[in-house]
Symmetry: C2
Subunit: 421 residues, 2 copies
């Protein structure tokens, strides 16, 4: 008997009808002879609606209370799925994150899981129940308060439970068929990948692929939990995320896919004194405001002035705050100007095969040049090349790279509406 952990996103649960269909799939998995643990996101737009309500009563709601509010969403969907399973004649019990032993630190709004003690889950499984666990939530080890795990939190809950229960697989049900070589909404012949390593998936997620969140993949990699990303709306196999790229023979390594990201902005700090430590002051100011930066370029110093320009990218949502923080330090750091640019996009090529194919960077740059896309910043890792370009050219860039590396399949990809959490 295998132990399967399944996670269903909010769009798969947005109505009573959809909840019933999810229940059928869960009961089928049980009937096939598996122990089943299910993690549910909140129904449809529940989380957004609750956030709106919070805004109406308090412009900046305290995070502890926001967590108490938002976690109600997953408790509700969880209990409803348990009832729908009951209606099909099977037995289910739902647990809150706290009851399921999801122990976190006290960082409300984006708590990290520090332990999972699923004693009650295990016992219910042993008694023959299908177990439902509310996703996205835990309980703080120190304060015993309810916490939330932040974006993609339900995926992380599922992977963490799979690790703690030593599950055979963690199935993430979503509104796409799996992980694709590119976003099928941009590249119609994008191909579904059957398998991808943790490292490649990490780079894809970090480069903007939304199908899995970075933290969930990191967690799965650390504990060796195989993830199966698949569609809630079909029975077709999806994409298996497992294994290390170190284990793949070099000659079999390939280019995996193209990812893109529209959520970044670019800041250029002009005429920074080019002395040791000046650049550090720029980054320290931004870091102290708890803003994560992504790509960084420092231009060669202008020899005549002894000054240089520093450019970096960051989440667009943090942009205005970063500009304000830097403006405050202008005198102290001694730069001339901060230029803020929201009209950028990032496109990345990912693949373990890059290591063994020296021509990849050249092909990459030629493909973009042929498509008329100007590269503003370029950065690389062992298995990834990313560039910043104009946002208006981003779709062209994705298509050009996808074609240049011959990633397309033979059939059209199926695109569903909506997206889960």
């Amino acid at each position: 008997m295998a132990l399967v952990v399944q996670k269903y996103g909010g769009s798969s649960l947005e109505s009573a009808e959809r909840i019933k269909r999810v229940a059928e799939r869960i009961v089928d998995t049980r009937k096939a002879g598996n122990d089943v643990v299910v993690v549910c996101s909140a129904m449809g737009d529940t989380t957004d609606e609750l956030s709106d309500l919070a805004q109406q009563v308090c412009p900046v709601p305290p995070q502890r209370e926001l967590d108490m509010l938002l976690t109600a969403g997953e408790r509700m969907s969880n209990a409803l799925v348990a009832m729908a399973i009951h209606a099909l004649g099977a037995q289910a019990r739902s647990f809150s994150g706290s009851q399921a032993g999801v122990i976190t630190d006290s960082t409300h709004g984006k708590a990290r899981i520090i332990d999972v003690t699923p004693g009650r889950v295990r016992q219910a499984l042993d008694e023959g129940y299908i177990v439902l666990v509310a996703g996205f939530q835990g309980v703080s080890q120190d304060t015993k308060d309810v916490t939330t795990l932040g974006r993609g939190g339900s995926d992380t809950t599922a992977v963490a439970l799979a690790a703690a229960l030593d599950a055979d697989v963690c199935e993430i049900y979503t509104d796409v068929d799996g992980v694709f070589t590119a976003d099928p909404r941009i590249v119609p012949d994008a191909k579904k990948l059957d398998a991808i390593t943790y490292e490649e998936m990490l780079e894809m997620a970090g480069a903007g692929a939304k199908v899995l969140m970075l933290r969930c993949v990191e967690y799965a990699r650390r504990y060796g939990v195989p993830i199966h990303v698949r569609s809630s709306y079909s029975k077709k196999p999806g994409t298996t995320v497992a294994g290390s790229m170190e284990a793949i023979p070099v000659e079999q390594a390939m280019i995996t896919g193209v990812a893109h990201d529209r959520s970044e902005a670019k800041i250029t700090v002009i005429n920074v004194p080019d002395h040791p430590g000046e650049a550090a002051q720029v980054f320290r100011a931004v870091a102290d405001a708890e803003i994560d930066i992504d790509m960084v370029v420092q231009n060669v110093s202008h020899l005549s002035t002894g000054r240089t320009d520093i450019t970096f990218t960051l989440p667009r949502s943090d942009g205005p705050r970063a500009v304000a923080v830097l403006e405050k330090q202008r005198q102290k750091i001694g730069f001339e100007q901060v230029v803020y640019d929201e009209h950028v996009g990032k496109v990345s090529l990912i693949g373990a095969g890059m290591r063994s194919h020296p021509g990849v960077t050249a092909t990459f740059c030629e493909a973009l040049a042929d498509a008329g896309v100007n590269i503003e910043i370029i950065s690389t890792s062992e298995i990834r090349i990313s560039v910043i370009c104009r946002d208006t050219q981003l779709d062209d860039a994705v298509r050009a790279l996808h074609e240049a590396f011959d990633l397309g399949g033979e059939e059209q990809a199926v695109v569903y509406a909506g997206t889960g959490r």
Copy 2:
């Protein structure tokens, strides 16, 4: 510094606007120098909406899961009120029933509180916080599952917390100004009572007055918690429920008010063999189906046949089930027929003063006769007279009794729409 427990009903919390007004009242109470613990019901119709959703996925949802679902409502309203308090510059923390130490038995759907261990509530008060506790919910001592307390559960939560914290008063905020001598929607000059004893309030609640639920009053009486029933929409004092009628000098005791109840039905079991134990079989059959009966009459036996008729009242919602249960036992018990009648109403007169005024029953019956109301069943306690009449005559009966005992005030009572849980 006094410790005040406040409870707000669902209609007082049905929108962001109303939540803000409730928060203002709470902060005012705090600023007046009190420690404040607040129990909130779910917003507006949340509980009904969640029950509907449950019905859609499962015709008879398991009670454990229904409790998990419904308790989300109070967690949400609670957290939102905490945020609204924060927006006013005060500090608040919300707790679930479980976090607040509301320990119950395992009877999902109508659990009884068996202990309250409010350690975290006390600590938060000591740290200067206003404390919010989700009403209507607790945690089972045996299974550690989430339970609900049934109808009026949030009132009971408030009273139980007030008892455990040794609070100075438990304020129940509702959509009426207090406890009235009769329902102001039927009797326009009904008078708000300034004070009422626990015994009288118990009889009023048991006789159908909806302002406080029976269990909550029982709890308050047992632990001597003074209740102040008042309106969420005005600053006027309401009705204090406190003290024993034993402590009131006989000459000061009065007639308290008239209560009515439209929720009962009447069953008559015809030609039951009049041997010892036959009537008991009728009541045992109904009790085994967990149906509570209210008033009972057994007619004098027909000497010629040795048979008798048994009549009783019960909640209308249990009526069809009771009939089915009795029909099944017809052969065994040996009666002739079950007659079911939904078109009945109950009117009751309550007051400690009844004990010392022997003419009350006579005046009561005369008043109903003068109003053309026929009495079908009559039952009395030390401080209450109740009768069953036709439902179409119920309003007339209430008005006739209110006038005969001179209970009216000088001003029109104010009636608000809606009702809390």
